[in-house]
Subunit: 367 residues, 2 copies
């Protein structure tokens, strides 16, 4: 843990009062907002996500809102994925790239109206990017950060909790589909979404003054299902092979390297940012790939964030991005960016601070 001194650049979440009451112990800073990362018992929090239902303050998942006559045009220029058939009420996972085809974010893009979109972004100042492109192309849009504070309900019992609050219609929502709703007088948007593979919803609160009330209502509804507080879970996300932008990516990562090629439509018009570069990269093929790495049984339980060398036959073939102890696999596992020639199943060594450990490359997801 690192002690961070308070400063005016870092915001507290609207759910701050609620998460403190729930015993939050540590945070990350994400989009300049504090995001809870633990309530003091990481193992219990993991199993709650895997077997039950957890409530996550992910208000730091800020929205880049694009509104105006040219909003749809801008959305399609920014995202190298065909949005033509995306209906209102539906989101799409998109790989935002710069003009060189370098991945700059991987938001869910939600179409709230024909002239209104949200990019639910990973940690980066995409407002600057979107405003630069819109102004340079003379598009008639307004780009803002609206008062939207997501609260995630995640885990196999999440649907039962959310259905008990809103009704059975939520069971029919497909992945990234959403609908506006109210709970008592709290305005929100209910989406089938969330950064886990355990199933769940995100409640996009539209009035931050009602954050504590929303938290309490969900906790109350979840009591029969033994709901508890949690947070985006590194162990689960690595087991599930979910990308963490900024952790698993670096300053030159393209979507094909990190398994996002299926979200790229290369036949989009040439005015789509990065599309020409992406076509070139796709034609040649990427030089790196994201794979899993599993350390040998005798390796210690290890959490290692950041870049550690992955070696094959003594040669460096890439780096890990994050290693964790998997409670289900009972092994230290992680993600790595390695040379494109490396194959799942092959033996590697990982050079950690604690020593060099034998391991095996794995396809993703692990589970």
């Amino acid at each position: 843990m690192v002690a961070i001194s308070p400063n005016a650049r870092v915001r507290r979440s609207p759910y701050d009062q609620a998460t403190r009451a729930a015993g939050v112990q540590s945070f990350e800073i994400y989009n300049r907002m504090l995001m809870p990362t633990s309530y003091g018992d990481p193992v219990a929090e993991y199993w709650r996500l895997i077997e039950g239902v957890a409530l996550w303050d992910v208000a730091c998942e800020r929205q880049v809102q694009i509104t105006g006559p040219d909003a749809a045009t801008l959305a399609q220029i920014l995202a190298p994925r065909d949005l033509a058939r995306c209906p209102v009420g539906q989101g799409r996972y998109v790989a935002l790239c710069d003009h060189r085809g370098v991945l700059i974010n991987d938001p869910v893009l939600s179409k709230l109206a024909p002239d209104r979109f949200w990019l639910s972004i990973a940690d980066a100042d995409i407002w600057l990017w979107a405003r630069a492109i819109a102004a340079e192309r003379d598009l008639d849009v307004v780009i803002e950060e609206p008062d939207v504070s997501p609260l995630a309900v995640q885990g196999p019992k999440a649907e039962a909790v959310v259905a008990s609050l809103f009704g059975d219609w939520v069971r029919e929502l497909g992945r990234f589909a959403f609908r506006a709703a109210t709970l008592d007088d709290i305005p929100l948007v209910v989406a089938r979404s969330g950064w886990s593979k355990q199933g769940g919803f995100e409640l996009y609160l539209l009035d931050s003054r009602k954050a504590t009330a929303l938290w309490q209502l969900v906790m109350e509804a979840g009591r029969p299902f033994d709901i508890g507080p949690g947070s985006p879970n590194d162990v689960e996300r690595i087991e599930s092979g979910l990308l963490a932008f900024g952790c698993d990516t670096d300053a030159r990562t393209n979507p094909f390297e990190v398994r996002l090629g299926r979200f790229v439509d290369l036949d989009l018009p040439d005015d789509t940012i990065g599309i020409e570069a992406l076509r070139r990269i796709a034609a040649v093929g990427p030089v790196r790939q994201q794979l899993g790495v599993m350390l040998a049984e005798e390796a210690p339980r290890e959490r290692a964030v950041g870049r550690f060398a992955v070696l094959a036959g003594g040669e460096r073939i890439g780096t890990t991005t994050e290693l964790v102890w998997s409670h289900r696999l009972r092994r230290t596992i992680g993600l790595a960016l390695v040379d494109i020639g490396a194959t799942p199943g092959s033996a590697v060594e990982v050079r950690l601070a604690a020593g060099i450990f034998a391991g095996t490359l794995r396809g993703l997801p692990f589970l």
Copy 2:
């Protein structure tokens, strides 16, 4: 203090080993890098800056490097300040704005060569901004984050320390002027710069592997001057009226509101980003202004980061951005964004968590 869990998005500084050995206690996260904020005795650290010399790890002050045939063109498009007469070896403080004239950063722009510039940025992803503009205008530049890690030597005795390391030529450097140098075999750039008004230099280390060696050499040279570790100092910067981008500014701040109008040249060509908006704002005049606020003698010692209401005659006229206890003025002082009609000397009240306190608006700087 807030406990932050380690994650791969946040880098340690190259000076990490040195600052830990020096007893660092707390940090901020700035440009996704840990920046030390205290070594355990903030009062002593303050007086060391005011009366002696302090060494600051400000590696988090990252550089947006622009190189290539169109580098000078892009620099001038990005910065609404006339750079035509800026020589190589000189920096300029610039107010980067978006197309609406909203301040998006306040870096020092250093001209290293006719085709090579650094923007030494405050906390924001200006790489995204610069890349978007460069690509949309089809400029032939490369925009990167180079291996540059500033170390600041600040305080009235800084010049003596830096001169003892590099020679008396450093005494001749004007504000924001710089020169390449080596110390033993450590490559760096020596600049008259730094985020205090106590005088000093920044050593832009060009090889992060040599960070510990550089720190030790400066500490050694500073021993006769009783040098010690420190960090950018909120108390001193508020006394001195230095702007903290992202703290004192919000999503609609323009340069004229925060005393940066003198760095804006309104007669620049129309292709300068934001210049048309800035001309309009200048013609009408800004609606807000940054002033100091000094609480009455009986108010408690207070550090308050974030927005607290400033009231005049019971009416809200703006908000504070940061309040601190001034060791020299022996009063709680701070910065505020208030209505343009407010005048220094007038009585106000500040609504803090601890209560409502009487105070007076002040011109800046305090000292």
